[in-house]
Point group: C2
Chain length 179, copies 2
């Protein structure tokens, strides 16, 4: 196995080892790390390469606390040192499609979750879309324009504990050649 | 930098370096590689951990050619040695939600695209959803039940050429603290 092949094997290991992280140390996330995360998001594929996304990077304590207030599964934002809100803009997507805009931004968000793990940080998908109330809350707190959809809030920080990987492989979900 | 940190850095590099690959060598994809790809897909996060996905792994020449016929941007399937069709099942998703089912399976598909790159393979997102005709075509060829949505077809093979990374970073898509 060449050095390149060994390195590539690590890439897949980062995918297999990622866990949702909800407990963070108080240590701040560095600006360079936040930029790396957003950069990873923007490396995702999009339909017709339209890149219909936008990102709101939040590190202010008050803003993080306000975000937490209206997200039933987002209480950990009250202790996270940072968050990245992944947004999508259907008017920028291929054919102006809401469905494609959501798919494109979802790929970006997944990239950010994986990149956080790869950098020794942790994160978790806190859903905003498709819940009208949560989207209104996140949009209101952050001043997001009405035509922009806040897809999810990704709290970011250093994991308070190392969690072992979970194997979610289910062979019965795999079909061969046809269903 | 420790060996662990160096390895993690490679994880993010695999995200940044991934490209859509549409030209493949005729070399078959090994069974162990196909399993690794599906395993990476199933490592994705899902709302309430519902894992509402299913995967159809296709390596038969005739099936791949038939898939290509009904997908306007899927002609490369006619030369790909394999494909993974990522499906989602709204009835298995949290709250039976179509939107969450699509988001969950999109994360799995993005994981597979990244894992392919990490293994030295290549792939590209060929959209089936949200196009009624394409979903009907893929579903018909593969015998997929009506309640299951074929989200996308991911041709897989060894890249015919190495493509340099593209930097899609756009600082104007990043907002700080608020929009």
């Amino acid at each position: 196995m060449s050095a390149g092949e060994q390195q590539r094997g690590v890439g897949i290991q980062a995918i297999l080892d990622r866990r949702s992280v909800r407990d963070f140390t108080p240590e701040p996330v560095r600006e360079a790390e936040l930029e790396q995360l957003v950069r990873a998001g923007m490396a995702a594929p999009t339909a017709k390469n339209m890149q219909p996304w936008a990102f709101v990077v939040v590190t202010g304590r008050e803003m993080l606390d306000r975000l937490a207030e209206g997200l039933p599964y987002g209480k950990m934002l009250g202790k996270a040192p940072a968050a990245i809100v992944v947004c999508t803009r259907p008017e920028l997507a291929n054919n102006g499609s809401l469905e494609l805009a959501v798919v494109d931004a979802t790929c970006a968000a997944e990239n950010i979750l994986l990149a956080a793990h790869a950098l020794g940080l942790g994160s978790v998908w806190v859903a905003s879309y498709p819940y009208e109330e949560r989207m209104a809350h996140v949009g209101g707190v952050l001043g997001i324009p009405g035509e922009v959809i806040p897809l999810c809030v990704l709290p970011v920080g250093r994991p308070a504990a190392v969690k072992p990987p979970i194997d979610k492989y289910k062979s019965e979900r795999i079909h061969r050649e046809r269903w």
